[in-house]
Amino acid sequence: MMRTPTYGPRLIGGAAFGVMAIFFVIPLIFMIVVSFYQPDPMGFYKVDFVWENYGKFFSSFYYTVSLRSLYSSALGAVLVVALAFPLVLFVSDLGRKWQLFWIILLLSLMCLSEVIMGFAWLILMSESAGIPRLLEWVGLWDNPRSLSPSFGAMMIGLVFLGFSIVSLILYPAVARRDRSIEEAAITLGTPPAMVFYKVLLPTFRTSLISVTLTMFVYLLGVFVMPTMLGRPQDWTMTVIISDKALGDANLPLGAALAVVMLIVTVIVLIASALLTQRRTA
C-alpha cells in the first residue's frame, strides 16, 4: 500500500467530500431550517423562526398518523425478518447454481420499482384478475370482491417490498457462518427445529435485531404501497409528508414532519449501531 499522500488523493478526496456535502448534507440542513419557517399560502414559505410547525405535530391527527406508521412499520419489519431468515438459511445450503438463481431473483425484486410491485399486487388482488377470481374458480368464494385497498393488502405490499432487501443483507453473514456447531448438534441427533432455536437463532440474534431495525426505518419511508394498496386511514407519515409538501404546498409543515421522522430514524440507527458494537466488542 502506498502511504505517501500527495496533492492528487487530497484533491480527489476533497472533491468527493464536497459533492456529498453539497448535495446530500446541505439539503438535509436546509430542510431543518425550512421547518422553522412560516408557511405561505401564496408561495413556498416566509423566512422566520417559529416552533408552530412542530406544535402542529402534537395535534391529535399527526399523533395518530405517527403511531399508526410506527405500528405498521414495526409489524412489517418483524414479519419480513421472520419470513426471510429461514429462506436465507435454506438458500445458503443450496448448490451454487440455485444460489445464483435466488440472488438474481432477490436482486431483481430489490431493484424493481415500488410502483410496479404495487401495481402487480393491485391486479393480483382485484376481482377481475388474481386471487379473488382464483378462489371463485376453485369454488371457495361465491361472490368475489376486490381485496384492496385494505390494511392487509398494504401489509402484504410492505412485506413483499422489504423481503428481498432483508434477504440480501442477511445473506453474506448466513452463507459464511461456521457450520461446525450445527453439524455437531445434528450428528448428536438434535431435531432440526431444536437446532434452529438453540443454535442458529442465538448465533444471529444481533444481526437479526439490527436488520429488523433497518427494515423498520425503511418501511417508515415507504410511499407507494400505502397509497396504492392501503385505505386513507392506513396512510403512513410518508404519505402525509408528501401530501403536505406537494398537495397543500405547506412546505414548512412537511419539513417539520420530515425532521421528526429524521430524529426517529437517527435514534433507531444509533441504537442499532450500539447493539452491534457491544456484541462484537
Binding site: M20, L28, M31, R96, Q99, S108, S113, V115, A129, V224
Partner: protein, 260 residues
C-alpha cells in the same frame, strides 16, 4: 419441508408478475386474468405512443448519467481511502453510506427544497444529480470489495518499474476493479430507472419518468398499457442482472465464498 418453503416463497415472488404479464397480453381494455384473447396491442401502444416513448427515454437518460456520477464518486472515495487511509477518507466513506440508511422521503423533501432554493426545481439535471448522489452507497460498498481484493505485490511491481500513481491506477488498479465498477454502475442505473419518490418530488410535474407515468396512470384509471410498461421494466431489470452475473461472480460478491 425446506423445499416446500423455498418453492412457496419463489412462487409468491413471481406470481404478481405472471399476472401482470397475462394482463399485458390481454386483448380487452378491461383488466382481466387469465386473458380472454391474446394480443400484443398494448406493447404496440407503449412503443408507438410519443408520451410513453418520451418517458422511457427520459428515464434511461437519467439512469445512465446518474450511474456515471454515482460510480465516479464511489470510485474516487474508495481510491482515496485506499491510498491514504486517512480519517477524512473514512469520514467521506461513512457519509456515502448515509443516503441508504435514511427513508427516501426525507432525502426527497430535502432535495426538493434545496433545488427550489437553487432555482433548478423542475429540471432534469436536478433529478440526475440527486439520483447520482443518493445512490452512491451500493457502488461504494461494492467497489470497496474490489479494492480489498487488490494485492500489494502487483502495485509494488508496477512502482518498482517506475510507474507514476496515475499510471498505476490506469494500468493496474482500474482493470482489476473494473468488474466491480460495472456492477455498481448497473445497479445504480437499474435503481434510478425504477425510482419514483425522489424523482417525483424534485421535478415530477415536468420531468415525467416512467415510474411517475405509471403511478399517475394507476391512480387515475389505468389501461393495460401500464402492464406492458411494467413488463418492459421487469425484462430490462432481469436482463441487466443476468448480463451482470456473466461479468462478475454475483454469488461471491454477496459474500458466499469462504476466501473473501
Amino acid at each position: 419441508m425446506r423445499r416446500v418453503y423455498l418453492i412457496v416463497i419463489a412462487a409468491l415472488m413471481i406470481a404478481p408478475f405472471v399476472v401482470v404479464l397475462g394482463v399485458s397480453f390481454g386483448a380487452s381494455r378491461n383488466i382481466s386474468f387469465p386473458p380472454d384473447a391474446l394480443s400484443a396491442v398494448w406493447y404496440t401502444e407503449l412503443l408507438t405512443e410519443p408520451d410513453w416513448l418520451a418517458a422511457i427515454g427520459r428515464s434511461l437518460l437519467i439512469a445512465a448519467i446518474a450511474g456515471v456520477i454515482a460510480t465516479t464518486l464511489a470510485l474516487a472515495i474508495n481510491y482515496v481511502l485506499w491510498r491514504t487511509g486517512s480519517g477524512f477518507a473514512k469520514a467521506t466513506f461513512a457519509l456515502g453510506l448515509g443516503p441508504f440508511l435514511l427513508p427516501p422521503i426525507i432525502l426527497a423533501l430535502g432535495a426538493s427544497l434545496f433545488w427550489a432554493e437553487v432555482g433548478w426545481y423542475g429540471r432534469m439535471e436536478a433529478t440526475i444529480i440527486s439520483h447520482g448522489v443518493f445512490f452512491v452507497t451500493l457502488p461504494l460498498v461494492i467497489i470497496a470489495r474490489g479494492f480489498a481484493a487488490l494485492t500489494d505485490e502487483v502495485i509494488e511491481a508496477a512502482q518498482m518499474i517506475g510507474a507514476t500513481p496515475a499510471q498505476v491506477f490506469r494500468t493496474v488498479i482500474f482493470p482489476l476493479i473494473a468488474p466491480y465498477v460495472c456492477t455498481g454502475f448497473a445497479l445504480v442505473a437499474i435503481i434510478s430507472v425504477n425510482e419514483y419518490l425522489i424523482a417525483n418530488m424534485i421535478s415530477g410535474f415536468v420531468v415525467e419518468t416512467l415510474p411517475i407515468k405509471i403511478f399517475n396512470n394507476v391512480r387515475y384509471g389505468y389501461s393495460p398499457v401500464v402492464a406492458s410498461a411494467s413488463m418492459l421494466f421487469v425484462a430490462l431489470t432481469v436482463t441487466i442482472l443476468l448480463i451482470l452475473s456473466r461479468i462478475t461472480d454475483l454469488v461471491a460478491l454477496f459474500g458466499t465464498s469462504k476466501d473473501t
